[in-house]
Every structure is written in structure tokens, then in C-alpha cells.
């Protein structure tokens, strides 16, 4: 019997060594293969030095349209200019991206990453020391819009660069407006009256992506900014520091949002419908308006949208609110998404080189502009081609004529716990199942 056991163990050991042999064998094969290819490359591009692989982790999964296409174009161009550099791109959409970002933070952070220059994302990331410091002097000639780098700085040090200037906007279907004799509302009361009229005619007034929570929070910010004007940032920062949301402006803004929803400004079931559904409602011509950021200006170039709608998309910003402290040209705009280099990158210099290349004004800014993806965070006036869509020009004019910009939206000014809390309860508050008071105390309690 004992013999059997011994032979069994011996067999297992044999099997184990066989597998081990396989493993090491294939590994060494791979090693030599890699060495071969690097030798080849070295002989071909002797001046460019060794083979380098950079990893780009991006939140733009669509590589054929909009911002994703712009990013891919730059990546391809960089690789063409630097034959020894290979850039591997990994993409996930926003929420999945943030989850995996966190997993990466424990181990092997990709070299270049998408980030958001907002406390709700960046605070934890910078506290963990994940991002490399950038040299501010490098970007003196990059024409960054005044103040756009602020969100990416901490203690006077720069850790990332902004990609876009985002503007909150009411997109509207000009054809539907003209056919019905409707005009762009100048005051908030006009907007609500317009919504009434639209409902009476069987048109859904405004398509709102309420299922995600954050567009509602942007809307709330928009209203709040119109009410408070240049005090907006102070009021929100104060509330976030003290956990006291008793400022009457908060109540008024939230109440206005709740009342608007109750008056039927948004589509039925806005509180659970996602981004795509809301956008489709508008692009199918079922809804007359659609509330979203300026990045969706690329709708005007999207061949998937029926031409009749595509060519008729125009926009206006939040109308004036009675008792508000702003003029019509004060708009809700902020610099959100951007890129950074990981502190732990093995090819830190090359990664920074790529980052700087991306941000050369003729790259991100120009290519982005040509693809109609909205406003970059850099001065774009040199890149006007004259072929811009009317929608694009409306955004340019709105930003150009702006007498005030809100900066980061309310939900992104606090911790990510605050962000989650406000984006969840705002659904309840706007559909009327939670009172404004409960909403404010709810978001206050998420602050430690």
C-alpha cells in the first residue's frame, strides 16, 4: 500500500515538474523573442533609443467618434513620430473607469491616465500620492484658459492638465421651435410657460438624464449660480466646510428644480432614464429640448442622428431667474476631465513627453475643435476653419461673451461621499418624494 502512495506522490511530483518545465520554457522563449525584437528596433531606429511601452488608461471607450477619436488620432500620430514608443490604450466608460482606477492604484498604475480636476475625484488620488508633479513652466506657451489649471493643483503644485471647458446648456430643436412659434426663453418663468405650452401640444419639453443623478446636480448648480452669481463658489465651499446648508439660496434653487419637475418640464420617468435614453428622446425629435454639457455639441456632426434634427440643434444657457444676482452672460462652465501621469511610471520622462505632446495646441485643442467635441481648455481662436457648425459657434460665443463662469459644479466640489449622496437624493428631491429640507439635511449629513 505504501508503495502505491509513494508512486502516487512521485507521479504528482513528476507532473508538477513537467508543468513547471513548460512554464519556464515558454517564459524564456518569450524573453528571447522580446530581446530579438528590441534588437531589431534598435538597429532600425538607432537614434531613438530603446523600446518603450506606455500604457494609456482612458475613459473614452468610443474610439471612432468624438473625444475618443481625437485621443486615438493623437496616440497614432505620436507613435508614428516615435517608432520606438508603443502606446497601449485601455478604455472603460466613466463609472467602470473609476472603479478600475482604484484597483490600479494598489498596483501598476498605467503611465498616463484620465482624471477629473475636481475634489470629488482628485482629493483622494492626490492624498494617495498617485500622480506625478508636472512642471508649470512647461505650459507657459500652451494657451491654457485663465483659471483652468486651478482644479488640477494642490499646494501650488500642478498634477494634471484639463482637457475641456464644459458648459451647461439647453439644447433645443430649432425646427420644432419655429414650427410652433416658440422662442428661446429669457427668464425662468418663460421657460416654465414654454414647457406648459409644449405639453399642451403633446411635445415633451426637456429630455433630462435623471437616472445618472449628476446631470440633475449640474442643473441645480446652474440654477444656484444664476441666483448667487460670483458668491456661488464661496457659498458652496462654506457649506461643504461647515456642513451647514441653511443658506436660503440652496433652498430656493432646490425648490425651483422640484417645482420645474412637478410642472412637467422634464419627460415622464426622467428620474430613472439614462443618458442614452434621454439623448435619443431629443435626437428622435420627440423632445424639444435636452439638458447636457457642451461635449454633446458633436451631435451636430453625428451622422447617426437624422439630418432634420442634426442640422437644427441649437442651444441656449440657463435663462435669468427672478431675484438672481447674475446677468444673462454669466454661464455655468467648468474644467472637468483631463490627463495626468502616474507617479510610479517606469518611463516617467517619456510619459510626460507624451502628455506634453498631447497638449500641444495643434493636437488636443485643434483636432478636438475640428471634430466638434466642444470647447478645449486652451485658447482655440487660431483654429477656426469657417466650417464650424452653428451649434459650435454658439458655444464659442457664449464662452467668449461670458462675464462670469461658475467653475466646478456643486456635486464635484465635495468629497466623493458627498457626490454620491447628492446624486442619489437629488433624484428623490426632484421627483417630489423627498422634501427640499430633507434633501439639504441629507447631503449635509454626508459631510464628516
Amino acid at each position: 500500500m505504501k508503495k502505491k502512495i509513494v508512486s502516487m506522490i512521485a507521479t504528482m511530483a513528476l507532473v508538477a515538474t513537467t508543468f513547471a518545465g513548460c512554464g519556464s520554457g515558454s517564459a524564456s522563449n518569450a524573453d528571447t523573442a522580446a530581446a530579438d525584437s528590441s534588437e531589431d528596433a534598435a538597429t532600425e531606429t538607432a537614434s531613438d533609443g530603446e523600446e518603450i511601452t506606455l500604457k494609456l488608461f482612458s475613459n473614452l471607450p468610443d474610439r471612432k467618434n468624438g473625444q475618443g477619436l481625437v485621443e486615438q488620432t493623437i496616440v497614432d500620430a505620436y507613435m508614428a513620430e516615435h517608432p520606438n514608443v508603443t502606446i497601449e490604450v485601455e478604455t472603460l466608460d466613466e463609472e467602470a473607469y473609476k472603479t478600475k482606477f482604484k484597483a490600479y492604484s494598489m498596483d501598476e498604475m498605467p503611465d498616463i491616465v484620465s482624471i477629473w480636476g475636481q475634489p470629488s475625484f482628485l482629493d483622494e488620488v492626490l492624498d494617495a500620492g498617485l500622480l506625478a508633479e508636472l512642471n508649470t513652466a512647461d505650459y507657459a506657451d500652451y494657451d491654457f484658459v485663465e483659471g483652468s489649471l486651478d482644479g488640477f493643483m494642490k499646494d501650488g503644485k500642478l498634477y494634471g492638465l484639463p482637457r475641456n471647458t464644459d458648459v451647461a446648456a439647453f439644447y433645443y430643436n430649432q425646427k420644432i421651435f419655429e414650427d410652433n412659434g416658440w422662442t428661446v426663453p429669457e427668464t425662468y418663468d418663460d421657460l416654465l410657460a414654454l414647457a406648459k405650452d409644449m405639453q399642451a401640444k403633446g411635445v415633451t419639453p426637456l429630455a433630462m438624464d435623471g437616472g445618472d443623478g449628476w446631470p440633475l446636480a449640474v442643473y441645480l448648480t446652474d440654477v444656484l449660480y444664476k441666483l448667487t452669481g460670483s458668491d456661488y463658489a464661496n457659498i458652496v465651499t462654506n457649506a461643504l466646510e461647515t456642513g451647514d446648508f441653511s443658506d436660503p439660496a440652496f433652498t430656493k434653487a432646490a425648490q425651483l428644480l422640484q417645482d420645474s419637475a412637478a410642472a412637467g418640464l422634464f419627460q415622464t420617468g426622467f428620474d430613472t432614464q439614462d443618458y442614452g435614453t434621454a439623448q435619443n428622446l431629443f435626437t428622435n425629435g420627440q423632445a424639444a429640448m435636452y439638458y447636457m454639457g457642451s461635449w454633446d455639441a458633436s451631435m451636430a456632426l453625428n451622422q447617426d442622428i437624422p439630418e432634420e434634427v442634426r442640422t437644427n440643434i441649437r442651444m441656449f444657457t440657463m435663462p435669468q431667474i427672478e431675484g438672481g444676482a447674475t446677468s444673462a452672460t454669466d454661464i455655468t462652465a467648468w474644467n472637468g476631465g483631463g490627463y495626468a501621469v502616474a507617479a510610479g511610471s517606469e518611463n516617467l520622462d517619456q510619459a510626460k513627453d507624451f502628455l506634453n505632446y498631447m497638449y500641444l495646441p495643434e493636437n488636443l485643442s485643434k483636432i478636438g475643435w475640428e471634430n466638434g467635441v466642444g470647447m478645449s481648455a486652451q485658447d482655440e481662436s487660431d483654429f477656426m476653419t469657417g466650417n464650424e457648425t452653428e451649434l459650435q459657434m454658439q458655444f464659442v460665443d457664449a464662452v467668449g461673451a461670458a462675464t462670469g463662469l461658475s467653475g466646478t459644479t456643486m456635486n464635484d466640489r465635495g468629497t466623493s461621499a458627498f457626490k454620491t449622496a447628492i446624486e442619489t437624493s437629488i433624484q428623490n428631491m426632484s421627483n417630489g418624494s423627498m422634501t427640499v429640507e430633507d434633501f439639504l439635511s441629507n447631503i449635509a449629513s454626508s459631510i464628516e
Partner: protein, 306 residues
Amino acid sequence: MKKMYSNKAVIAVLVGPGLLLFAFAVLAPIILSIYYGFTNSTGMGSYDFVGMKNYKELIHDEAFFISIRNSALLALGFICIQHPIAMVTAYILDRLGGRAEHFFRCVFFIPNVISVAVIAYLWKFIYNPDFGLLNNIIKFFGGEGKVNWLGQDIAIWSVLIVLIWHGFGWGMLIYYTGIKNIDPTLYEAASIDGAGSVQTFFGITLPLMKPVIQVNVTMALISALKQMETVYLLTNGGPGNATQFTANYLYQQAFRAFKYGYGNAIGVVFIILCVVLTVITNKVFEDRDLKEEKKLNKISMRKEAI
């Protein structure tokens, strides 16, 4: 051979891989969860011990209790609605025989074959208030058709219907195999004695299915507690937290709110709940088994006495 199995080294070699898998894939994460549950970790960088703070916060967390309530509702829905229907369907299928049996067996199982993502989007469109199937049906019959199926008050019921419908096939399949394992001679005997369908079901099928029912109920309870993917894709717990489920809430807190420590505390409570519920269900079924055994013993003893 018997000797070999009693040899400790052999036992260790045979049990080892499974044990290691369990230790590293189940036990270690649970222990880590317990550890992180006592910290204020954000999932990145350094963190501090905060003692019971996460658990104290959890007691006052309304959303957490809503999610537990929803899980309980789902479990009830599974046990009281899905399973009785699944069992009766399985019984009818078995009686049907022939081609029809094969056909319907496939049809009923189809929802389980379709990916969860597709199911969620399918129902999203069915429920859509503007162009959804349900509202169009209502319009067809002359109604206004403006029901917001995923609105605040009825969202949870709409979600439950999807979950109950989606899980139906599995339950039915397990019951069906259970029924197939019942000795057909019993049915023959029953029909000779003149028992009808209903009588046969309650007299033969149901009692003999007890072990299958036990497995199914336990699985239903656990899957109700574990519910995540369909809800995540259908409503993501919204509006607000109206359709929040424990696993989804855990995910939200740990990975979206960056409250990794808090998320782990939820996880620990969640594990405890699962274990307690499993033990209770086992106890419930075990007691009945024991009682019945005793009953049978008594009867046979009486018979002997006579």
C-alpha cells in the same frame, strides 16, 4: 484502498487543493473585509483604525435598511410567487410528455440563457414611459398610457417582476428534475386507485419533492440577498434608493463614494445575514424532517404494539 483513504498524508493531498482554494478565495477575503471594516480606508493610500464607527453609522443608514427590506421583499417574492408557479409548471410539464414537454421546457428556460445586460435593457424599454411596450398596450386599450413604471413608488415592484420572471427558469428546471426522479410506479399506483391530478400533486409530488424544495428555497434566499447585476443595470438603485439592494449599495459605497472601509462593514453585516438565514432555513427543514421521522417511528411502534 480503504487503508489509503485513512492515511493522513493522502487525505491532506486530496483535500489540500480544495481547502487552499477555499482559504484564499473565500476565507482570506472575508478576514480582510472584517479588517477593513474597522478602518476609514478609501481604497487608496493610507488609512486609520476607527473602531466601530462604520457599524454605528450603518445602524443609522436609511438606505441600508431600504436595501435589506428590498432583499427581503425579493426573497418573499421568490418563495411565495416564483416557486409555487415554477413547481406547478414543472408538474404540468412532466404530465404533458412528448414534443410539447420539450418545447415548453425550452421556452420557459429562455430568459435564463439571455445575458443579464440584455434582460435589463429589454425591460428598460418595456417600462419606458414614452415609447415602452407596457404603456403602448395600455394606450391600445384606451388608457392614457402615461404610467411611470420605474417611478418612485412602483419602481420596486417593477424590478421585482423582472427578477422573479428572470429567475423562474432555474427554479422550474430544478423542480422538473426533482419530479423526473420520482418513481413513476407511484403515479401508476395512484391512477389505479383513482386519484386525480390535484390529489396526485399534493399526495405524491409535493411530499417527495421536499429535499428539492429545501435546496431551491435556500438558493432563492441567497440569490435574493446577492441580487446585484440586474438592479445595477436596470435602475442602479434609483430613483434615490427606492430600488436599492444590499450588494449594489455595497458597491456604490465602496467604489463610487470611495468609502472602502464602510463598504466592507456593509459586506461583513451582509455575510452575517446570509449565514444566519441559511442556518435558519436549514433548521426549519431539519426540524420538520425530524418531526416526521418521529411520527413515523411512533406509528411503527404502535403497529408493533398492536
